[in-house]
Amino acid sequence: MPHRTFFWFFFPSGLAMLLFIGLPIISSFFQSLHIEPEQILMEVEKCDPFGCKTETKVDIEATTKLQEEQPLGRFNGLGTYGDRNHLAFDEIKEAWTNSSSIAEFTDTLLNLPFYKALLFTLTFCFAVTPPVVVLGFIVALSVNTITKSLKGPTIFGVILPMIVTPLIGSLVLFWMIDAKGILGSFIQFLFDDPNLSLKSSSQLTWITLIIYGIWHNTPFAFVVFYAALQTVPQDPIEAAIIDGASRYERVRHIVIPHLYPVATFIILICLMDNFRVLEPIIGFAAEGVAQSLSWMIYNDLRSENKMLFGSAGATSMLTIIGVAILLTPVLIRTWREFRTER
């Protein structure tokens, strides 16, 4: 494709990306450098059904004036990035000097909101992605071998978890694993422990979320693998059959090498998606024990008070940096393969 044609072909989507992805990122970045203007407080008399008393209230006039002078808020530089709810430099430094052992330091570190969320996000990413790739591949192989008449309904059944809205899917499972739900009571029966509850401990909640993540993401890997399986050349397979290769050997030496680039693509997309995990945390009411970076952003914008745009912006920037770091090894690898193929 000549460069000129490519340019005009790419232009509309490039423009859309710039407008709807690029500009918002820049605006979030600017917002993350600012915090709310100072709140001016005043004492006023307040009367309600329980009586009158003098109470503190925000002086709306004065605060509005400040807000009009600085619509973005006070400039705080990278201060928000370094505060306790983000990278927490001061707290880490303090923990480093005061901790007597590495274990104590790790404890303090993982108690800080950002690192706690990062730990869950990374655990979720790396626990979900490999099983998704393996399971997706196995399911695709199996579906590929069944008779044509059964294929349609089977494929529909397999991709169902992806079709179900994440929030609904997680809610349905949430009710099923309730101590009195069908899965919850079965597990209690299985382990003969009437007090066992998947929702009560952090570890079990994490495992539940991870299993949900695998369940929800596998269809995506399946769809891509299944499409790629249709492109596997038949000649080498027939040759291998004639040579007496077993089914396993054919998959191992012909199919897998052929699907390798596809697997890289799936890993890339899965890592990226799972790094932004949010819906299952809400659906499983797991905010208490499992917080992700996306959940932190959500919480800054949907808490019981003023929206913390600065804080949310800072977390967004850190998430973007996180995704970039996560994808670098895969991208470098793809780039190298691309070059050697040439």
């Binding site: 307040k46 059904p49 009586g51 306790r84 709810n85 309730d178 024990v289 913390l308």
Partner: protein, 411 residues
């Protein structure tokens, strides 16, 4: 304060509604869009609002338990997503901080002749909201179960735990106690109750500087921990509505939830045997204190600043019609404690009046209280799961509060 509430509850002087002034009902112009919490009493109230608005009105209401999380974003937009919001002494401060609800003096002068004075929420000389009900959390118990085991109705949390342990030991119930411990707003509220019950203060007087990491805070947390040990192991996922379901399924013999819960717990749906066995009791005190460990609340409505005057007037009229409807109040006397003129309290009002008499304080209406409540919502979970000490959890609460309050400009 006590006198007012008592006077209010036992005033049977009934004046005819809407004597003088313009009649609020039968709205034809403007649209009414209301955001409200989700529980049975609000449904009853909203039915009345709708019928007051009349068949020609453009009326819609959104009930959501996440109303507090939606309100700031929804009312900040201009024009606002909703023309009115049902508020409480807790949620009004967040809206006041950002000037998101408007003064109602003109509208009250025009339509509000049937309002009682204590329904008017006056801040700095202006009416910002109209209250229609009072609420508080208190103890509920199953009479037959307590009688069978010879347990007296607990009046302190220490007795609640002893009673729960006795029920547990008898094998009648595995998890006899329930409270709304869902991580988030509910959990924060449980701490607020317990900390006030221990006589704690959330802030250094007159400042936004937090102080909860003290002996009273630790005692409050330890009491919560002991309560969760006699609760359903899923306690961190149960909000008030989930607790009510547990109650109606007969899994619980003692609980501490809202007085307005009577609207659904004592209605004609569900297991009537459990309903007949359900009793209300005063909120227990704790740690040798005399104050009950609960807070007093009023519920009312505010009108959005960022909506047209036409919509504001329409919404105000419909809501006011319900907030002065003696008929609705007396048709549902047990749904809550209505603040409406001419209302004769039902037999469920006792525990709230008792709480007011024993010195329970209203939920703190401070501009930065919601930030502290937010910090409590997330930072106490690890302690309740046994992964952290009480001191550490409270230190985390303070640190999380300081970071947020700094960003918002309070510190």
């Amino acid at each position: 304060m006590k006198k007012l509430l008592i006077a209010l509850l036992f005033t049977f002087v009934s004046t005819s509604a809407y004597a003088g002034g313009h009649s609020p009902c039968g709205v034809t112009d403007g649209s009414i869009k209301i955001l409200a919490n989700e529980f049975t009493t609000y449904r009853i109230f909203m039915d009345e609002v709708k019928s007051c608005a009349g068949p020609d009105a453009d009326f819609s209401v959104t009930h959501s338990v996440d109303h507090n999380k939606l309100q700031v974003a929804a009312l900040s937009a201009n024009p606002a997503e909703f023309s009115a919001k049902l508020v409480t002494n807790g949620s009004i401060t967040t809206l006041m901080n950002d000037n998101l609800i408007r003064p109602l003096d003109d509208l009250v002068a025009k339509y509000g002749s049937a309002l009682q004075d204590n329904q008017k929420i006056v801040i700095d000389g202006k009416i910002y909201a109209v209250a229609f009900m009072a609420n508080a959390q208190h103890l509920w118990y199953r009479e037959s179960i307590l009688n069978d085991l010879g347990i007296a109705v607990p009046s302190t949390y220490e007795e609640v735990i002893a009673a729960a342990e006795k029920i547990k030991a008898s094998g009648k119930m595995a998890n006899p106690y329930a409270g709304a411990f869902k991580s988030g707003w509910n959990l924060g509220q449980e701490f607020v109750n317990m900390y006030l019950g221990h006589g704690g203060d959330f802030f250094k007087a007159g400042t936004a500087e937090v102080s909860v990491n003290n002996a009273k805070g630790v005692a409050a947390l330890n009491m919560l921990k002991r309560l969760t040990e006699v609760s359903n192991p899923d306690f961190l996922t149960q909000d008030t509505n989930a607790v009510k379901e547990e109650w109606e399924s007969g899994n619980v013999a003692l609980m501490h939830i809202w007085n307005s819960g009577a609207a659904s717990l004592l209605d004609d749906e569900g297991d009537q045997a459990i309903k007949a066995d359900t009793r209300l009791a005063p909120s227990p005190s704790v740690g040798g204190g005399s104050k009950p460990a609960t807070t007093l609340w009023w519920d009312g409505f505010g009108i959005a600043t960022n909506t047209s005057d036409e919509n504001a007037e329409a919404s105000f009229r419909a809501l006011l019609g319900a907030a002065t409807s003696t008929e609705m109040a007396n048709a549902n006397p047990n749904a809550t404690i209505w603040l409406i003129d001419g209302y004769s309290p039902g037999d469920t009002a006792g525990p709230v009046v008792d709480a007011a008499n024993r010195g329970a304080t209203p939920y703190p209406s401070l501009p930065y209280m919601s930030l502290l409540h937010g910090a409590l919502s997330t930072e106490l979970v690890e302690f309740l799961q046994g992964n952290e000490s009480a001191e550490k959890a409270l230190a985390d609460v303070e640190a999380a509060y300081v970071a947020k309050a700094t960003e918002q400009g309070f510190l």
